[in-house]
Subunit: 230 residues, 2 copies
DNA sequence: GCAAATATAATAGTATTACTATCAAAACTG
DNA sequence: CAGTTTTGATAGTAATACTATTATATTTGC
C-alpha cells in the first residue's frame, strides 16, 4: 500500500479550491498545517488566522487557496475519501468472491490508520481523526443541496458506489444496498467516536476488532437474511 | 399518545440552562422561537440576536436562560430524547414479546413526526428536523468529554439503555447491544437526511417505510445471526 | 539577462458574532 | 407597599470571517 501514492494523484473536485494547493509549496504547507491544527483545536476553534500563524503567512494568503474554512474542510475530507477509495480498490483487487471483497473493504474502511513515515505532506492518521469528528459537518448544513449539486461530495459518492456494486453482487435481490453502504461508512465513524468519548453507548473499545466484527456481522447477516428465508 | 405530555414533565439536566425556561412565559417563548429559527436558518446562522428579535427582547435576556447557543441546542436535543423515550416506553408497554417491543421501538423512533395541533410551546415536528440535522453537533466537539462527564447527554443515554435492555432480552448472547442501539438511532437520522438531500447514497425515499424496513431487517438479522448458526 | 507577469507579504479595514456590563423600569411577592 | 426579582434598553469588547490595497519577492517567457 505504501507505494500507492507515489504515482497516483488524488483527484479533488476543483470547485473546492481557488488555487490548487498541490501546485505550490505554500499550498502544501497550508494543507499540512491545517490538518494538524484542525485535529488539535477542533474545527470550530480553527481559524485562518491561526493557520496563517502556523505557516508564517498572513491569513489573506490562505484565502487565495481556499474560499473559506468550510471549503478547506471539504477539500480535506474529499481527499480522504479518494484516498480511502484507492485503498479499498487495492484491497479488493484479485479477490475472487464478492464476499471476500466486502470483508476486505470493511477492514480497509474500519482500520485505524497508523503511519510511521510521512510520504506526503498529508498525515493520514490525523486526517482520519478529523474525518471521524468533523466529516458530517461538511454536509449537515443549509447549503447541502447546492453543494451537492456542485459536486462537492463526489468522492464520497464514488466510494459508496464502489461498495454498492459489491453488495449488489453478493445479493442482487437486496433492497437497500445504498442504505447499507452509507450506514456502514458512517457507523464506523460514529462508533469510533463513541468508543473514545462516550464508551457507555457502544461496545467498541479503542481497538478495531469489535467494531469490525460488528460491521461484518451486520452486513453478512442482513445480506443473507432474505435469501436464506425465501 | 396525545395526552402523554399533559401530566408529565420532560426532565432536562439542569446544567443545561441558567434559568429553567419552563419557569416563565418568556422562557417558553425563547424555546419555542429558537426551534422555529434553528429549523429555518440552520444552527450555524442562528444567533441570540436574531432570537431576541423574534421574541422582541434584547439578546442579553436570552443569556439569562441559556449560557450560549450550544447549550440551548443541547437543551432542545435533550428534550427530544426524553420525549422520544416516553414514546418508546408507551409503544412497548403491555407488549408481550421482546421482538414485538423492539419492532415498536423502531417504528416510534423512525416515524416522521406530524403534528396538527400544538399542545405545548414545543413543535415536535420541527424539533425532529433539528435533531436530524443538528444533533450530532452537540457531541462532535472538543468539549465532549467534559460535557459527557457533566451529564449533558444523560437523556440520550437513557434512551439507548432502554433499547439495549430489549435487545439483550431478545438475544442475551449478542455481543454488541450498545453498538446496535446507537447505530440504529443515528442511522435513522442519517438516512433521513440523505433521503432528503443526497438521494443517490440511500434507498430511503421521503416516506418512512423503506427506512423502517431496513432498520428492522438489520436488527432482526443481526440478532438472529449468531443464534441460528451456533 | 531582463521585462512582464504572477505570487506572496504586510497592513488596514469592515460587518458580524458572542458575549459582558450597567442601570432603569416593570412585575411579582411577602 | 416595600423589597426582591425579572426584564428592557443600551453600550461596549474581543474575536471572527472576511475584503482591499500596496509593496516586495519570485518566477517565466523571450
Amino acid at each position: 500500500m505504501r507505494e500507492l501514492l507515489s504515482n497516483l494523484k488524488i483527484q479533488i473536485p476543483e470547485q473546492l479550491f481557488v488555487k490548487d494547493p498541490e501546485s505550490s509549496d505554500l499550498g502544501k504547507r497550508i494543507v499540512e498545517q491545517s490538518i494538524i491544527l484542525i485535529d488539535d483545536l477542533g474545527f470550530e476553534s480553527f481559524t485562518f488566522k491561526k493557520l496563517g500563524a502556523a505557516i508564517g503567512s498572513p491569513e489573506s494568503t490562505i484565502y487565495r487557496y481556499f474560499e473559506n474554512k468550510h471549503k478547506l474542510l471539504l477539500y480535506l475530507i474529499s481527499w480522504y475519501w479518494a484516498w480511502l477509495e484507492y485503498r479499498v480498490a487495492f484491497a479488493t483487487a484479485n479477490v475472487a468472491t464478492s464476499e471476500d471483497q466486502l470483508r476486505n473493504c470493511i477492514t480497509a474502511i474500519c482500520e485505524t490508520v497508523k503511519q510511521d513515515q510521512n510520504f506526503s505532506h498529508i498525515n493520514e492518521e490525523l486526517l482520519q481523526r478529523i474525518v471521524i469528528s468533523e466529516s458530517s459537518k461538511t454536509f449537515l448544513t443549509k447549503e447541502v443541496d447546492l453543494e451537492n449539486k456542485n459536486g462537492y461530495f463526489q468522492n464520497y459518492k464514488n466510494l459508496i458506489e464502489r461498495l454498492v456494486r459489491i453488495i449488489s453482487d453478493i445479493n442482487p435481490d437486496f433492497k437497500h444496498p445504498r442504505t447499507l453502504a452509507s450506514t456502514l461508512l458512517e457507523a464506523n465513524h460514529l462508533q469510533k467516536f463513541f468508543g473514545e468519548h462516550m464508551p457507555s453507548i457502544t461496545d467498541c473499545e479503542r481497538k478495531d476488532e469489535q467494531l469490525i466484527q460488528f460491521i461484518e456481522t451486520m452486513t453478512s447477516s442482513i445480506l443473507n437474511y432474505g435469501t436464506k428465508r425465501s
